[in-house]
């Protein structure tokens, strides 16, 4: 019984399983409807049709030299498909991909006693595997990075965690732009006479 999957009580627009070809901008004008079982028992309408798609401000946009997205999961196939999706989204949005690589997996193993009371020689082993995938994008603006990350994160599969590292480019502060040797007053050298 699948009703229209809407966001309901979440404050931001939330899209469940957006297909890769849809862009995030389309979803901002959606009306959110909380459906319970496809019937009209709970309907809460919040229409955001008046929000403009593009906002213009005077401040210059932040620039990022590198955006590093690391995804971790228990299942390698899930990470494979997510990597395909993220790379496709970046290419469609025209972002430059620096590299996509797979850091080595980590296995946490626990060796425990099999029996409750004695039998030290008989143990049982459990392991928890974490697979990684890293996607590095270069030369992004702040708004591009925000849009891309929001789209990527809304479609993160369950059981997958993400870490994002941003490398910002900032202008050199004014007081250290030029070297100061030559502008300072001459300091007289004192000689210790012992």
């Amino acid at each position: 019984m699948a009703g229209i999957k809407g966001s309901g009580t979440l404050p931001g627009s939330y899209a469940v399983r957006v297909a890769p070809k849809q862009y995030l901008l389309q979803n901002k004008n959606l009306m959110w409807i909380q459906f319970s079982l496809g019937t009209d028992l709970h309907t809460v309408f919040q229409s955001y049709g008046n929000m403009p798609l593009v906002s213009i401000s005077d401040e210059p946009d932040t620039l990022y030299r590198r955006l590093s997205v690391l995804v971790k999961g228990h299942d390698k196939a899930v990470l494979d498909s997510y990597e395909y999706f993220a790379v496709l989204a970046a290419e469609e949005l025209g972002l430059s991909i620096e590299k996509v690589y797979e850091p080595p997996r980590k296995i946490e193993r626990m060796t425990l006693l099999k029996s409750v009371h004695v039998y030290k020689k008989h143990r049982v082993q459990y392991e928890m595997r974490t697979y990684y995938r890293c996607l590095e994008l270069k030369h992004l603006t702040g708004s591009t990075a925000n849009v891309y990350l929001e789209y990527i994160q809304r479609n993160l599969p369950e059981g997958v965690a993400m870490e994002v590292k941003k490398t910002k480019i900032e202008k050199l502060p004014e007081h250290i732009q030029k070297p100061i040797w030559g502008t300072l007053p001459q300091v007289e050298e004192t000689v210790n006479e012992s």
Partner: protein, 110 residues
């Protein structure tokens, strides 16, 4: 009783708490146990199999497969009751995805 099971799609959905350098595994387990007990008590006798719990960025999605024992209006009431109560308990949106089946499901236990 919560147990790791193999659902008909063939995969186990575990929350991110068990991944390397991720926190919150114990809280997820406690939440899981409570939600399963709660669902077992609400949908008495009509749950065809164990519920599948998924978490996507603060939203809790509960996937249930029910038998067609009860009238639909009763099922609707119970479903909206669980949704509202669980969302008030855990302060997060809770969505229920229901599916009804005419008879018992056959699948393998591991």
């Amino acid at each position: 009783m919560s147990k790791i099971f193999l659902c008909s799609a063939g995969f186990v959905i575990s929350p991110t708490g068990n991944l390397d350098s991720e926190e919150g595994a114990a809280e997820r387990v406690v939440e899981d146990v409570f939600i399963r007990c709660f669902l077992y008590g609400t949908f008495v006798g009509i749950m065809a199999q164990e519920p599948v719990l998924k978490r996507r960025a603060n939203v809790l999605i509960v996937c249930l497969v029910l038998l067609q024992n009860m009238t639909p209006s009763k099922i609707y009431f119970l479903a909206s009751y669980t949704e509202t109560l669980l969302s008030h308990f855990y302060k997060c949106p809770v969505k229920l995805e229901l599916q009804t089946v005419p008879g018992a499901l056959v699948y393998k236990y591991l």
